[in-house]
Amino acid sequence: MRAFSFILALVAAATLTRAAIAQIAVDLSKHQIEITSGFDGAELLLFGYDTRGGEVVVIVRGPPETISVREKERTAGIWINQDEVTFKNAPSFYFVATTEGLRGDGKLETILESLGVGPRYLGMAPVDSSLSPERVNQFREALITLRERDQLYAKEPGHVLMREDRLFRTQVPFPSSTPIGDYTVTVYEVIDGWPVLGTETPLRVRKAGFGAFVYNTAHDHPALYGIVAILIALVAGWFGGWAFRKS
């Protein structure tokens, strides 16, 4: 990934007349989000320094997933799932933020499209669907809408605030249903309307504490987990009955 972005940066630099190389440094307030039992969403601060003081685009993406979109249709009076399209490489989380200069007039959209990183341009490829491209597009839109509803995809681009033409920062909101995995946080500098890869910084979302222990046991030792679940319930039920019989 790193090597790839480096090459991208080189290509971008080479194609530009003004040999534009982004000159920005970025960091996150935290490089790890821990989902503990008390987790109810989180907000990270992304901040950086831009020597040139231009426009900046921030993109945060969760690990890619394979996901099925199903459509209900009325059949014999009731609504039943009928058509289904499976997409590969759909990011589990997507957030974009930009400085004021790129807002409106579809400027941001053009940049995202050229980079292939907007929600509609991410290489979310349908897996051998027999449906027409128009229908597949409908399903793609439905996927984006549903994820926007769950606050996993940003509905509106966030604000990157510029201070003294050099310092910038933005808040990245994560809902309580934030999926786990390795995220990519990419920052582009826009020079003369051209996006140039500035920098990438890692972000990891993982379960921690008791919740992580439960989750890992359930997946690594499912049979043992099942037996323990039954034993806990038996003891709790027995204890409940005993406690109230005494009283």
Partner: protein, 306 residues
């Protein structure tokens, strides 16, 4: 105060879960039902994935039913022989049910099947209960004693493999409880219920067991069936959330006791009608959701379907 449920992967208010446990617990204590048929739809309603709702509710029912079985055991109101035959059917049925659940999930039709099962069974049981309790209420008012034949001979008594059940004072085909147990087992796995609301009427009307042993025996069977469902759902589908089950359990253990004490003071017939109404309302809501045009016909499923 929110708590993140590690398997359901959602954050829910702790007091909401405790309250749901207590509320359904009170109803359980009041009416002597497990309450799974109310709890599972409620869990799905607050956003718990259906598969996790079913698996975790089965886990919670293990606790509820052991409390009940122990109480009935002390009162010697469990027919262990009948319970064991029901249980054999129950284990076969619930094992098949868990695998059926997995297959339906893959096809993307599990939510539909869960809803349809609820609508059909809650509808039938609700109507039967409603008419039955209305009738007995009317009779009570008129002061007419119940009458009925002691023994009716039907096709049921013509079945082979007859077995003697001393406790229930019955001599019937073992196929009958085996079949009832199997049906309840499938439902337990798919609907996340103990199945008492199906089994109790079936034991009374179909098998002809005396009411004194019905509750204890059905709880005995339910205990093993829900334990089997918990194990298989955990093992095969990783859909048992211990934390969720525990939170519901705390509420329900308290609620059940309140319900039992409340039930001793209140007229039971009127409350039977109330339970019937509650069952019919749940059924109506689920039926409405199946028929009404959804706000968004699209839904997502991780991992790709077929």
């Amino acid at each position: 105060m929110h708590v993140y449920l590690p398997i359901a992967e959602i954050s829910v208010n702790v007091f909401l879960l405790l309250g749901m446990g207590a509320g359904v617990g009170v109803l359980s204590g009041l009416f002597g039902v497990g309450g799974g048929f109310l709890m599972t739809p409620l869990l799905i309603f607050i956003g718990v994935p259906p598969a996790v709702a079913v698996g975790s509710e089965a886990n919670q029912l293990v606790a509820t039913s052991i409390t009940g079985v122990l109480a009935h055991w002390r009162r010697k109101s469990v027919d262990f022989k009948m319970g064991s035959v029901l249980l054999v059917g129950g284990v076969i049925g619930s094992t098949g049910g868990v695998f059926l659940f997995k297959a339906l999930q893959k096809l993307g039709q599990i939510d539909l099947v869960i809803s349809l099962c609820y609508v059909v069974f809650l509808g039938i049981i609700g109507l039967l209960m409603f008419s039955e309790s209305m009738r007995s209420m009317l009779k009570q008012k008129r002061g007419v004693a119940r009458r009925g034949k002691l023994h009716k001979h039907t096709w049921v008594h013509g079945l082979p493999f007859k077995m003697r059940f001393h406790k229930s004072r019955l001599y019937v085909s073992a196929l009958l409880p085996l079949f009832v147990g199997m049906l309840v087992g499938v439902l337990a796995a798919i609907m996340g219920v103990g199945g008492g609301f199906i089994m109790v009427p079936a034991m009374i009307y179909l098998i002809g067991m005396p009411t004194s042993v019905v509750a204890g025996t059905s709880l005995f069977q339910i205990l093993f069936v829900v334990a089997n469902v918990t194990f298989l759902q955990a093992w095969q589908n990783q859909t048992v959330d211990i934390l969720l089950a525990l939170l519901l359990l705390v509420g329900s253990v308290l609620g059940v006791q309140v319900g039992i004490r409340l039930g001793a003071k209140l007229p039971s017939e009127q409350f039977r009608v109330l339970l019937a109404v509650l069952v019919l309302l749940t059924c109506g809501k689920l039926a409405f959701d199946l028929i009404a045009t959804p706000g968004n016909p699209f839904s997502l499923a991780l991992g790709g379907g077929h």
